[in-house]
Symmetry: none
Subunit: 131 residues, 4 copies
Amino acid sequence: MITLEAARRVVSAAEEKAREIGQPMDIAVLDGGRNLKSFARMDNAWLGSIEIAIDKAYTSTSFEMSTEDLVSQAQPGQPLFGINTTNNSRVVIFAGGIPIQRDGQVVGAVGVSDGTPDQDQQVAEAGVAAF
Amino acid sequence: MITLEAARRVVSAAEEKAREIGQPMDIAVLDGGRNLKSFARMDNAWLGSIEIAIDKAYTSTSFEMSTEDLVSQAQPGQPLFGINTTNNSRVVIFAGGIPIQRDGQVVGAVGVSDGTPDQDQQVAEAGVAAF
Amino acid sequence: MITLEAARRVVSAAEEKAREIGQPMDIAVLDGGRNLKSFARMDNAWLGSIEIAIDKAYTSTSFEMSTEDLVSQAQPGQPLFGINTTNNSRVVIFAGGIPIQRDGQVVGAVGVSDGTPDQDQQVAEAGVAAF
Amino acid sequence: MITLEAARRVVSAAEEKAREIGQPMDIAVLDGGRNLKSFARMDNAWLGSIEIAIDKAYTSTSFEMSTEDLVSQAQPGQPLFGINTTNNSRVVIFAGGIPIQRDGQVVGAVGVSDGTPDQDQQVAEAGVAAF
């Protein structure tokens, strides 16, 4: 369970970090069943990042890991090459999705998109830290 | 253009009305390009209403009318029978989606789902009124 | 949370009822997040019922009601006419899907398909009773 | 033809191996027509592996080979590069899917997902051996 109040705390903290680094972002929080709980597209953030933000959170809930951890494994010749076309092609293999945990259980995830992978990761981390 | 600040004002007013009538809701605001701007799933609101809320707003932006206005036209034998399977079946033909206008132009829409059509409509109206 | 052991108990009881009435069935159990937990296609059951069984359970989890309760509301002229084309057209509007509850909370659902609506409902009820 | 009884024998043997190596798995058996026959998601197995398990079996039935055999051929510059986006992107190109044969004919396949490719392969092999 992740409440709307908790999901919004995550989104707000991510937004604050995004403003701090001067990069508008699309930010999504999904619950542990991979269903959307809260979403915000900051002004001037990319349209193409709406689904990427949501699907990064989807990916992190699906595999209980950050999307950053998929980067190296999903390269050609690596064990999970091709994973991004599974699950109706909703698996994102670059940084910006991080699971949200309570007592060691994944209860949801945040997904952030529009900046560089480093920026997305940084903003997602700020979001998770506020949970 | 609809700012995140304005979109959230719409969501908040809708939420307040939903709490007032004691019915948790899924609430979405899309911009004039039919792209998601803000979303909230209130605690205990249906999972099935996530997409319905988003798609009611999608419908209202698509056809610049409330989804309530589609109800009679989409019945068997009526002029728009079958419209709900167009646009990748994202067209919703019951109440709860209302366009958001500025100076007579549709700049977005709100979509609300989980209650009766009357409740959804009432909550969506409260949202639009706050724009 | 619904364990695999509990999900299988539901499937087994549904199967037993299906054999009793002499009608092979497709039987699915989803968890509260609408994700598949257990599935069985009995020998000679329809291929077309694979997705219907899964999607009946999807529908019952999505709207926290039996699909039988959607039948009258989804008819032309009724409040939810058109709901079957929402959620990527995964909403099924005839009997055979029933929520599984624990302490008043929906923790999943069973979906059954291949017989008449009455048979599907009866088999689904036998499944839920075993939870 | 693969009976439900035989499909379950495959799933049970795979489960037993998964427990033995201490890795919860999603396990699917499809028939020779690529249609789902039996499925089990072990407790604590990834949600993202539901579809991957089913689609590994889909892939092995589709091309009458193990998904492991696709790995090298699907790399950049190799003959089947891009095959994972065919068939509505249901083709999985890492280990864990194995055809089930009777008298030299492919009558179905098992798909396993959630561990390393080696673990998935090992568990799938245990399943097939029980057929």
